[in-house]
């Protein structure tokens, strides 16, 4: 259990100050403060903080409108809290643009940090800071993709019953209406009915199209999420495969060198043998010669 002795410290500071005044040592405090203020404004840290504030703004915005976004939009709820689909699409688009700009800003910061010539500790520190920001961004993106997946799933379920009711209406209407179209300018009740039926048909066609599009959209969103996960894994594997590749290349080099060494050794061996043979033959010839010379 920790004890806060900051006040004690401040009291010590006062004591030391009074003691110094009594002895006569003074410190020029004002000059240093001015120097302190003129620290670089456009450094790494202020920009990183900016990115974080932006991401926080996005997160607050998403959380604020989350309830409305995800709500089923029942017919009884008041108009103020209902969000039209246009609004939802707008939110989606804005959020996506925002996230893209944030991740680009992070990448830019990272490149700059790489290029700058600074000590290893500061580099490591900046790398870790950027990792933290990225994790934060990923968390906020997860929020967004969750609520979007819910919305899309709900859409695909909502439109199925509508499609069924629309198609049942279409089946009741007779098919051949085109011949009786343009005789009079006045709209007789039959023509009105005809136009209505045509309208219905068109509506149902449109609905089914929209429905299919939404289904496809749902599938695509799910696939994209899985794709994200796979892409991450593949990138990890890529690093490892690179590593393995380096090792294999090194190994082939070593094996080649080994082969060369072996060949040389064989050659030396063979050469050595030749010289031994030669020496022995010469020795025996000299022996014979000496023997012949002696006798």
């Amino acid at each position: 259990m920790a004890v806060d002795i900051t006040l004690l410290f401040k009291a010590s500071v006062k004591t030391v100050k009074t003691r110094n005044k009594a002895i006569g040592i003074g410190f020029d405090s004002t000059k240093d403060e001015i120097f302190k203020r003129s620290r670089p404004k456009s450094g790494f840290s202020p920009r990183a903080k900016e990115v974080i504030t932006n991401i926080t703004k996005l997160k607050d915005f998403l959380l604020q409108h989350r309830k409305d976004y995800v709500s089923a939009g029942s017919l009884i709820s008041s108009d103020l809290s209902r969000m039209t689909d246009n609004d939802r699409d707008q939110i989606d688009q804005d959020a996506q643009i925002f996230m893209r700009t944030c991740s680009e800003a992070i990448k830019q910061l990272r490149n700059e940090a790489e290029k700058q010539v600074i000590s290893a500790q500061i580099k490591e520190h900046r790398g870790a800071v950027l990792d933290l920001i990225e994790t934060y961004l990923k968390g906020v993106c997860k929020l967004y993709s969750e609520q979007r997946a819910i919305r899309v799933k709900r859409m695909s379920f909502v439109f199925r019953p509508l499609e069924k009711t629309a198609s049942s209406e279409v089946q009741d209407n007779p098919v051949n209406l085109w011949e009786e179209s343009r005789v009079e300018d006045e709209l007789s009740p039959e023509e009105i009915q005809m136009f209505e039926q045509e309208n219905q048909r068109l509506i149902s066609e449109m609905n089914s199209l929209v429905d299919e599009v939404r289904q496809i959209e749902g599938k695509v969103v799910e696939i994209s999420r899985l794709q994200e996960i796979f892409a991450e894994k593949v990138l990890q594997q890529e690093a490892e495969i690179d590593n393995i590749h380096q090792l294999v290349v090194g190994a082939t080099e070593n094996v080649k060198e080994g082969n060369e060494d072996i060949r040389e050794a064989i050659k030396n061996n063979a050469g050595f043998r030749v010289w031994i043979l030669f020496f022995l033959v010469m020795c025996s010839f000299s022996l014979l010669f000496l023997d012949w010379y002696d006798s």
């Binding site: 259990m1 920790a2 004890v3 806060d4 002795i5 900051t6 004690l8 410290f9 010590s12 500071v13 004591t15 030391v16 100050k17 110094n20 410190f27 405090s29 240093d32 403060e33 620290r39 450094g43 790494f44 840290s45 202020p46 974080i52 926080t56 997160k59 000590s119 500790q121 500061i122 490591e124 520190h125 870790a128 800071v129 990792d131 933290l132 920001i133 994790t135 934060y136 968390g139 906020v140 929020l143 799933k153 695909s156 289904q215 749902g218 599938k219 799910e222 696939i223 999420r225 899985l226 996960i229 796979f230």
Partner: protein, 644 residues
């Protein structure tokens, strides 16, 4: 008071105890001493952590590097290393308030290394040193930068939920050798006692409870108890600065009753540190290099280099055995053969899960062409998502299984080469005074049973537990056999002295009844299926028995009367007048107890206490010691003592 009750109840239900309290204290400190928010996706705040070696030892068993990163620590550096200025980052210092550390902090302030400084001192800092920092801050005009100064009172190392040690660096200063050597000065002793008492005081401040202290008479433990009692008393009397007041205790009052603090000296039981053991954690500590929950092993052993070829490179591998490792938590106290079987089981479960995941591939292929089946597709994608998200868990499991396989294999190699099971069985029989089926001389003269150290340990245990000292001729015989086996005989001199001393003092320690049953043929048949072929290694079953320390604790906690513990002294810091009597005021049995061994302890005692706790419902026992040594380190200290 009513608001404390739900917190109390939740704390009582908590399984993790000491680790939690220390880890929570550390996390608070790392969050600039504000309680950590449980916000999901909170804004990251980055900081730099600076520690000295003491701080490193305290932090490393509790928080891993990844957890530090998650808390926003971008860099963690040693205090006395070269550090570059990082001008716009707050720095958290976690150091001991020694002279060199204070000088270095003043230097940092002068060099304006960081933007703001949060100073946390592991134990309380004195006023004069605080003024030193104040003057350095004034000189560097950095007073506003020193944002907060804290006394953390964390001067002890928490290794497990219910185990702590005092320090790892400089442990020679308070080792058994330092306390018991013949040429010790009073000033040295005072210094050692002060160190120990300081750490214990920090421990109780962190725990937030004032204990009732019991200790034996006439040895180092009594000195520690007297000093600790005095220090606690002074702090309680000082109403302004008391650290034990009701509102400042957060994790504090974990029960309505005060805990019992039992201080014992190492000299009460010398055989247990030398004992060969059979449980997993104690074996690792005995046989491998195990410090602060970290095992360092050399890989690539076993293959013999063929003639002329370059020897195989031995790489050193480090493994962390943490609280998150479920297998470790479950099996660290189990006997070794059980551990081997469990590793095998875990491996089989893991393989089954892996096959499940692979099966999904075929499912996906078959049902890909079904049209209009949104539900089917979403079901498949859900399955796929769940399989993919469970992959990290599976990988982690695989890593842990590999870790334990390697560690257990290394331990098994040692057991086989040194025939540790034979030693274990023999020592158990010695300690329980049952009949021996092999004579001691046989084992000592057996050339391939164990290292000389093992033989020395066995002989020392025999000497310690013998009712009467062996006759001169027997002793000479044993000494000759030991010298033949290249043993160092100096520990024996010290043990002789010790035995003479304790005979005067009290009744010799009784190690209780234990039986060791070798399980024989049946178990061997069962074990042939497992990966660890345990041929020749007997499968020994441990029967429950109590070591002396456990027995002392049992007597004191249950308020039983026993000649051994009846004249233990009784200290209650909360009483107005210290009394010399040893009659406890409290007649109820205690629910929580803390056992502290002055002079060193080891995992065998800890395991015994854990087993004892399991057999009693609802009791919490914490084990602490001034240092943790394994048998070889203890023998070294004994030989140093015996050589004087």
């Amino acid at each position: 008071m009513a608001c404390h009750i739900p917190r109390l109840v939740s704390l009582l239900k908590k399984k993790h105890f000491l680790c939690c309290i220390s880890a929570v204290a550390l996390k608070r400190m790392l969050n600039f001493n504000a309680p950590p928010l449980k916000n999901t996706a909170a804004e990251p705040v980055w900081k730099v952590l600076i520690y000295d070696r003491f701080g490193q030892d305290i932090i490393s068993p509790l928080l891993s590097v990844k957890e530090l990163r998650d808390m926003g620590i971008t860099l963690h550096l040693l205090l006395h290393s070269d550090r570059d200025p990082i001008p716009d980052v707050p720095a958290i210092y976690f150091v001991m308030p020694t002279e060199e550390n204070i000088d270095r902090i003043c230097q940092d302030l002068r060099n304006q290394l960081y933007e703001s400084y949060y100073l946390n001192f592991i134990s309380a800092i004195s006023r004069s040193k605080l003024e030193d920092i104040a003057s350095a801050a004034l000189a560097a005009n950095a007073v506003t930068q020193v944002t907060k100064v804290f006394d953390q009172y964390l001067n002890f190392i928490t290794l497990e939920d219910d185990m702590f040690i005092l320090c790892h660096q400089n442990k020679e200063l308070i080792s058994y050798h330092a306390i018991n050597r013949a040429d010790i000065q009073d000033t040295d002793m005072e210094a050692i006692m002060d160190t120990i008492v300081d750490s214990l005081f920090c421990f109780f401040v962190t725990l937030g409870a004032v204990p009732i202290i019991r200790c034996p008479r006439g040895n180092a433990a009594e000195m520690v108890a007297v000093k600790l009692d005095k220090k606690l008393r002074e702090n309680l009397r000082d109403a302004r600065n008391s650290l034990f007041t009701g509102d400042s205790m957060t994790a504090g009052q974990f029960s309505f009753q005060r805990p019992l603090f039992v201080l014992v000296d190492r000299n009460v039981d010398m055989a247990t540190p030398l004992h060969h053991t059979w449980t997993y954690q104690a074996l690792i500590h005995d046989v491998l290099d195990f410090h602060l929950n970290r095992v360092v092993m050399e890989e690539g052993m076993g293959a013999e280099p063929s003639a002329g070829a370059r020897p195989k490179k031995k790489s050193r591998k480090t493994y962390d055995l943490t609280a998150a490792d479920k297998f470790w938590q479950k099996h660290k106290g189990s006997p070794f053969p059980e551990v081997a079987e469990s590793v095998q089981e875990e491996l089989d479960t893991y393989r089954a899960q892996e096959d499940e995941v692979k099966r999904l591939k075929s499912i996906m292929g078959l049902e890909g062409e079904d049209e209009g089946a949104i539900s089917m597709l979403s079901d498949n994608t859900a399955k796929l998502t769940s399989a993919v998200s469970s992959l990290p868990e599976l990988l982690e499991k695989k890593r842990l299984i590999d870790l334990h396989t390697n560690v257990a294999t290394a331990v098994l190699d040692h057991i086989k080469s040194r025939k540790l099971d034979v030693y274990f069985e023999f020592e158990e029989k010695l300690m329980s005074k049952s009949t021996l089926d092999k004579s001691l001389l046989d084992i000592i003269s057996d050339p391939d049973a164990g290292t000389p150290e093992d033989k020395m340990r066995l002989f020392l245990i025999y000497y310690i537990t013998a009712q009467q000292a062996p006759s001169e001729s027997d002793l000479e015989q044993y000494k000759k056999a030991l010298l033949d086996a290249v043993c160092d005989l100096s520990p024996l001199n010290y043990i002789k002295q010790w035995k003479a001393f304790t005979k005067m003092a009290a009744t010799p320690a009784n190690y209780g009844n234990s039986g060791v049953k070798p399980m024989g043929l049946f178990s061997r048949v069962m074990n042939t299926g497992s990966q660890f072929v345990m041929e020749g290694v007997k499968n020994l079953v441990l029967k429950q028995h109590n070591l002396p320390v456990t027995r002392i604790l049992d007597n004191l906690m249950e308020m039983k009367s026993h000649p051994e513990t009846d004249d233990y002294r009784y200290f209650d810091p909360k009483m107005l007048r210290g009394s010399e009597s040893s009659i406890p005021r409290n007649k109820n049995p205690f629910q929580e107890a803390i056992v502290f061994v002055v002079g060193g302890g080891n995992y065998i005692e800890y395991q015994n206490l854990v087993d004892y706790t399991k057999s009693k419902q609802g009791k919490k026992i914490v084990y602490g010691c001034s240092e943790l040594f394994n048998a070889s380190q203890f023998i070294k200290q004994l030989s140093q003592l015996g050589q004087k």
